[in-house]
């Protein structure tokens, strides 16, 4: 089973030199720590910053400089700042090369649910609906199944959707899965996790296209 850090490391392999990347809150944020050496990548924060840097030192803290998770951040050299309409213009307009976000559920049709659990409190979708509607290249990070073994990779999402038919790549704690032709495709597995175990914990139809390699870290 992959740790949070290992999930982030696996996602980081989807980066390419020169990419503009939006990282969501939680595990996606950790991906910033594993950008492959020698690769130039600009991180977009949807509150209006392209070129997000590391967290500030105590001396550098600036109330006017935060990320989309409302944490204090710094900007890298060559960063730019803009208003929220411009920020979502670049997101909705498909200019962001890679978007990474978390989810509660995904299904074989590429639907994603990530913003609300009816009966519990609704905190809002923030920018997630715009991000999944605008991006061509989205990686979802999530746990493969809940604590009681209930699968989160489903024939059909049960929770209210964040976006319809927009997800193609999923990294879970057990596997790397792609969504094509209305099915999950098991392409990589976490070290020490068997294909049978993954298939058992995937409720939606899953294809095992051949020998499934173990991820290496």
């Amino acid at each position: 089973m992959l740790s949070r850090e290992q999930i982030a490391m696996r996602v980081a392999r989807e980066m390419r030199d020169g990419y503009y990347v939006n990282l969501g809150i939680g595990i996606p944020t950790l991906v910033a720590n594993y950008i492959p050496k020698g690769m130039q990548v600009m991180l977009q924060s949807e509150n209006g910053l392209l070129g997000m840097g590391p967290f500030p030192t105590e001396d550098e803290v600036d109330a006017d400089m935060i990320n989309a998770g409302k944490q204090t951040v710094t900007a890298v050299s060559g960063a730019s700042i803009f208003d929220s309409a411009q920020s979502f213009g670049m997101i909705r307009g498909g200019h962001v090369d890679l978007t990474v976000l978390g989810a509660f559920e995904v299904d074989v049709m590429g639907n994603i649910a990530s913003w609300m659990v009816p009966g519990k409190l609704v905190k809002g979708m923030g920018g997630a609906m715009d991000l999944v509607a605008g991006a061509e290249n989205i990686v979802v990070t999530m746990t493969h199944a809940g604590k009681n073994g209930e699968s989160k990779l489903l024939p059909q999402c049960t929770l209210p959707l964040t976006g319809a038919g927009c997800i193609k790549k999923v990294v879970t704690d057990l596997a790397y899965v792609e969504i094509r032709e209305g099915k999950f495709w098991l392409l990589e597995r976490a070290p020490g996790v068997s294909v049978d175990e993954i298939v058992k914990l995937t409720a939606g139809e899953i294809v095992v296209p051949g020998p499934v390699p173990e991820m290496e870290f």
């Binding site: 400089m65 935060i66 639907n111 715009d130």
Partner: protein, 235 residues
């Protein structure tokens, strides 16, 4: 205040004409770039049944959270509101109406409102609860929903510097929704850290041209930080 001089000397003047039941568009993202003094003034005025359009609703005891304490807000139009225990309580008890709106759609609604565009199509929210009941149209094989623009009776905006003519610049990520809110108010009030003379801001780098701005007030700001996150000093 005369001619093009937009500067007012008091918060009473800044929000004169604000009445019960009005819609206010507010700039800010979380607690970053919020018009702190104007929000406190709304609390002092005790105006009620307000509809507030803002990405967030402050936190308990600060920012727009202050207006929840006295039940001044009837409805919030926001993308994310989960920062605030009182908010949760008012939502669950039905005392507060909430229209959740995707963040990019919210920004575009303000921009469209200020630019005289009554509605626009977006793929955001299609096939989700946000798209329910909205007109759907297909362009180039993809489905889009029709979202309507927003305007407000007032817009309350936080700027870094403004000149007397109401030209405004913002600082860092405190810009966020502020320039959009500024365009969408029938009366736009900008609270700034510093007021300067016309001509002293670089005209090539004005974020909000003065035509959008009706009143400018010099504010004082606590600039509270919601999530102070630091890395350790490197050797």
């Amino acid at each position: 205040m005369s001619g093009l001089d937009k500067v007012v000397g008091s918060y009473d003047q800044a929000l004169a004409g604000l009445n019960d039941g009005m819609t206010i568009i507010a700039g800010g993202f979380g607690l970053c770039g919020i018009p702190e003094g104007l929000i406190r003034q709304i609390k002092r005025m005790g105006t009620r049944n307000l509809t507030i359009v803002s990405n967030n609703c402050g936190v308990d005891g600060f920012g727009l959270g202050l207006l929840l304490e006295d039940r001044q807000i009837k409805k919030m139009i926001s993308s994310y509101v989960g920062e605030n225990a009182l908010f949760e309580q008012l939502l669950l008890s039905g005392e507060l109406e909430v229209e959740l709106t995707p963040q990019g759609t919210l920004a575009e609604k303000m921009r469209a409102g200020g630019a005289g565009i009554p509605a626009f199509y977006t793929a955001t929210g299609y096939g989700t609860p946000i798209g329910e009941g909205k007109e759907v149209r297909e362009f180039n094989g993809r489905k889009y929903i029709l979202e309507e623009a927003i305007t407000g009776d007032f817009a309350i905006v936080k700027g870094w510097k403004a000149d007397r003519y109401g030209n405004v610049i913002y600082r860092h990520t405190a810009r966020n929704f502020n320039p959009l809110a500024a365009t969408a108010g029938k009366i736009t009030v900008v609270e700034v850290e510093e007021i300067v003379e016309p001509g002293s801001l670089d005209m090539d780098n004005i974020h909000t041209p003065g035509i959008y701005v009706d009143r400018v007030i010099q504010g004082t700001f606590e600039k509270r930080i919601e999530r102070r996150t630091v890395r350790s000093q490197e050797a």
